[in-house]
């Protein structure tokens, strides 16, 4: 679980890249971010790094939640 709210891009993506290697393949990382570039960049990062964007939703407390599964 990474709360990158208040951090501007590319910092949330750097946080995600750092977090993904701490979980075992098949497990997920949950990222919270509120930068307007986070949505497109999480999706693009998953495509570039062959990871899986499982789901995303808007958080009631502000920002978005992304769930990313480590594939490799």
């Amino acid at each position: 679980m990474v709360d990158a709210r208040g951090r501007r891009c590319p910092l949330p993506i750097i946080d995600l890249a750092r977090a993904i290697v701490t979980v075992t393949p098949g497990a997920t990382v949950t990222l919270w971010a509120d930068d307007p570039a986070a949505g497109p960049d999480v999706a693009a990062w998953c495509r570039l790094r062959a990871q899986e964007l499982v789901s995303s939703r808007t958080l009631p407390s502000g920002g978005d939640e992304f769930v990313i599964r480590r594939r490799t």
């Binding site: 501007r8 891009c9 590319p10 750097i14 890249a17 960049d41 693009a44 495509r47």
Partner: protein, 399 residues
């Protein structure tokens, strides 16, 4: 005085000006024409005395010259105060005239802001806007541009301003015409850079901007093909065939025609030369910088020949621009941190591209191999330095 190049720009001030898609220095032929026209074409071209007639002659000759280059008739050409004004007039003027056909305006998701802002005005006035998405190269699927019922007009750029991808304009025009819907194309990226012929494209309206092909700032081109239903969205007078109100900037228009004519005559040599610079950048970048995603169509025939865009993982576009600027290299970025609104480029978002660490390199008439070398000498170090500053130096950057 620093030395000046053939374009007259100060070469000493910027070792590598690589933002020609934003604007490019005045073409020497345009400069010469402008100076003459300032003296010869200052009078009101609507007046019947000698000075007025002289200005009128210059204006008519410029219109004829632009029409010839674009494959249009002189009376189909109007000069506006900018490409943005021209695009707005093209789209809103057709939507206004075809109001009874419907209230839908179709645009691609990657249009220039001038078209999207005009579409927003239409929507604000009670109209409807339908956006057509693009693929990973930024290109629309012509089948997706099939008009929905009630479509008054559609707009599709000739090429994208951020990644250079050419759009299937002729095919989209054909599909729209089957349903009786006219097409506007924003050709600001292509006019003066690749051959542009309104008849070959089959479009009903075309717009462009002089300062993007070596003309002066303050002149836009508005082509309304004969038979196209169009009514000015604003007040008009007798100027420019009743399409553009106000005193025309005759000297700047004369310079625009000179730039377009000169640039067109140089295209056969310049196109392949600039394409070579882009190809070299695309070839060398991935080897020099880890974590680079090249954007746009990898097939050079699917793209304009002077634009190369890419994104670098784990760096902020603003920090890249700043690092390159300190080395005297001027480029542009679609990353959110470089925009006033702090939102990422709608083009990159629509393509599904990485929006951070984005750069657009664009070449022009005075770009050389030395510019490419200067950029590639500096960029890897700037990326490394920015990654270290953002705490991303140790991450695996291989895409």
């Amino acid at each position: 005085m620093p030395p000046t190049g053939t374009s007259g720009r100060s070469v000493g001030a910027v070792p590598a000006y690589l933002d020609h898609a934003s604007t490019t220095p005045l073409h020497p032929a345009a400069r010469a024409a402008l100076l003459v026209a300032l003296d010869e074409g200052w009078a009101d071209p609507a007046r019947l005395y000698r000075e007025g007639r002289r200005a009128r002659m210059l204006l008519d000759a410029a219109r004829e010259s632009v029409a010839t280059v674009l494959g249009a008739r002189p009376d189909e050409i109007s000069f506006t105060s900018s490409g943005t004004t021209a695009a707005g007039a093209a789209l809103l003027g057709t939507a206004t005239a075809r109001r009874r056909a419907g209230r839908v305006v179709m645009v691609s998701a990657v249009e220039h802001s001038s078209v999207l802002h005009a579409a927003a005005v239409h929507e604000g006035a009670g109209g409807q806007v339908v956006q057509v998405g693009v693929d990973g190269h930024g290109r629309v699927d012509p089948a997706a541009f099939t008009p929905v019922p009630g479509t008054a007009v559609a707009s599709l750029q000739h090429a994208n301003h951020e990644v250079g991808t050419l759009q299937p304009v002729a095919e989209v025009a054909r599909r729209l015409h089957e349903a009786g819907v006219p097409l506007h194309t924003d050709a600001a990226v292509t006019v003066g850079h690749v051959p542009v012929d309104v008849r070959a494209l089959g479009v009903d309206l075309l717009t462009a901007s002089a300062h993007k092909f070596g003309g002066p700032p303050g002149v836009g081109l508005l082509v309304v093909r004969t038979g196209t239903r169009w009514r000015s969205p604003g007040p008009t007078d007798e100027r420019e065939g009743g399409r553009v109100a106000g005193f025309p900037a005759v000297p700047a228009i004369v310079a625009t025609a000179a730039a377009l004519e000169a640039r067109t005559s140089e295209l056969a040599a310049e196109g392949p030369r600039l394409a070579g610079l882009v190809a070299e950048l695309r070839r060398r970048l991935p080897a020099l910088v880890d974590g680079v995603e090249l954007l746009g169509d990898p097939d050079p025939t699917g793209s304009v020949r002077h634009i190369c865009a890419f994104s670098c993982l784990y760096v902020a576009g603003e920090a890249l621009l700043d690092g390159l600027d300190r080395a005297g290299i001027a480029v542009s970025s679609g990353s959110s941190c470089t925009s006033d609104a702090l939102t990422p480029s709608h083009v990159l978002v629509a393509m599904g591209a990485l929006t951070h660490g984005n750069l657009r390199i664009s070449f022009g008439r005075d770009s050389t191999q030395a510019d490419v070398d200067a950029l590639l000498d500096v960029l890897p170090g700037v990326v490394r330095e920015v990654r270290a500053r953002f705490g991303a130096a140790d991450l695996d950057h291989t895409p």
